[in-house]
């Protein structure tokens, strides 16, 4: 019951004395009470639980965290044993386009090390 997910605030209105927003969760738009995040602005991401925004997601911190996560194990990659490197190469060769059907730009993205 403590699950809460981030969504983007697309509209802010006043209803019944409450600050209500229309919040987009990957295409699904819901009415969300914004009373607990009075400083919220259009375009902010809010973390929503049972129809209430509990916090404004700190986008800068989220990016820093992701950068840390991506960097994690980089050392380990650099000094991996030959066996580990073969195992990783084998795992990668089966995805995403084993038959060589990938367009050039897709493989370029992969080489650049951005799996997303």
């Amino acid at each position: 019951m403590c699950l809460a997910i981030p969504g983007k605030v697309e509209e802010i209105l006043e209803e019944d004395g409450l600050k209500i927003g229309r919040v987009n969760f990957g295409g699904v738009v819901k009415r969300v009470c914004l009373d607990y995040v009075p400083e919220v602005k259009l375009g902010d991401y809010v973390i929503v639980h049972v129809g209430f925004a509990l916090s404004i997601l700190d986008a800068e911190t989220a990016e820093l965290t992701l950068a840390d996560f991506r960097a994690m194990g980089a050392f380990d990659e650099e000094f991996a044993s030959e066996e580990e490197q073969f195992a990783r190469a084998a795992a990668q060769s089966s995805s995403p386009c084993p038959d060589g059907s990938c367009p050039d730009d897709a493989s370029a993205v992969k080489v650049a090390g951005k799996p997303e």
Binding site: L18, C33, Y36, T65, E77
Partner: protein
Amino acid sequence: MKYLTEFRNGEIAQRMAREIHAVTTRSWKIMEICGGQTHSLIKNGIDQMLPAGIEMVHGPGCPVCVTPLELIDKALAIAARPEVIFCSFGDMLRVPGTDRDLFQVKSLGGDVRIVYSPLDAVELARKNPDKQVVFFGVGFETTAPANAMSVHVAKRSGLKNFSMLVSHVLVPPAIEALLSDPRNRIDAFLAAGHVCSVMGTWQYPPLAEKFRVPIVVTGFEPLDLLDGIRRTVVQLESGRHEVENAYARAVTVEGNRPAQKLLEEVFEVTDRAWRGIGMIPNSGWKLRAAYRDFDAEQRFDISGIHAHESPLCHAGEVLRGALKPDQCPAFGKECSPRHPLGATMVSSEGACAAYFNYGRFLSADDLASAGKAGN
């Protein structure tokens, strides 16, 4: 979805798991308090990516599971009344009471409804002035701001036909009770991210200090969980016991002040009995005197409740982390999501439900023979 999918990247998860293997030299028992995190760990197989010595112990952070049977029976009695529209979050409907559950009350003619938000129940009260609308207000600190706002709005609007059956519980007193138990075997805690979005992290340093345990505030996505576990192990291995925030994009030290202000106005701290665990002092919230008119237990005369727990159900030991769901003799036999003996088998945060739904009822032999049959 932005800020979700990035935190589910399998390749990064593998690297983070390797980091955890690299820093682990001893056996450690880490409890994730929150049932939502239990489900994420089991669903994503994160517990199986960890070194053999790291045991994830599943905690009591499932509000539906710890709601006392007596209160479930009260809810069923209120929901069966002809003048009542009884509203609840969905995962309460299959929780077994002594004789039946809310689904069965509905099939017997009770007006039982699932709402997305407690504000929807307030709206139902406005639209049905000839009915009594009751909301089952269960939850931890995460859900409490929504419930507090609903009672507040009902009072402000002068609604006479809205009330709440309140069973709110709090995380820090539960951690204290678990660590004070002489049978305790937990070395460290992952604190529940969204509880801390509301309450902040300031409540935890005294606990970390008193019991000398690391407490790492952790999110719910696979990479968040792996990072929380990694930070916990690093602390344990270096003999530190600090509060760390591994969910900084959603959690601050002070938490959500406007929410805390309304919580303080609507609720006051009370002792609560936790199903399967027992009475924990100052471990819950009840409505303050100014909101007593909205308390369903005051509004309805509910006497003659004789709650009776199934002797086969070991949910209490599961909730304390003393037993893994698949170690319960009834797991997958007398007890399944179709025929649950306890709430842990049906709640979306129950550890037994996680083990059952994600196939942990199969032994290694079962899996091997299933593999052979498949070939």
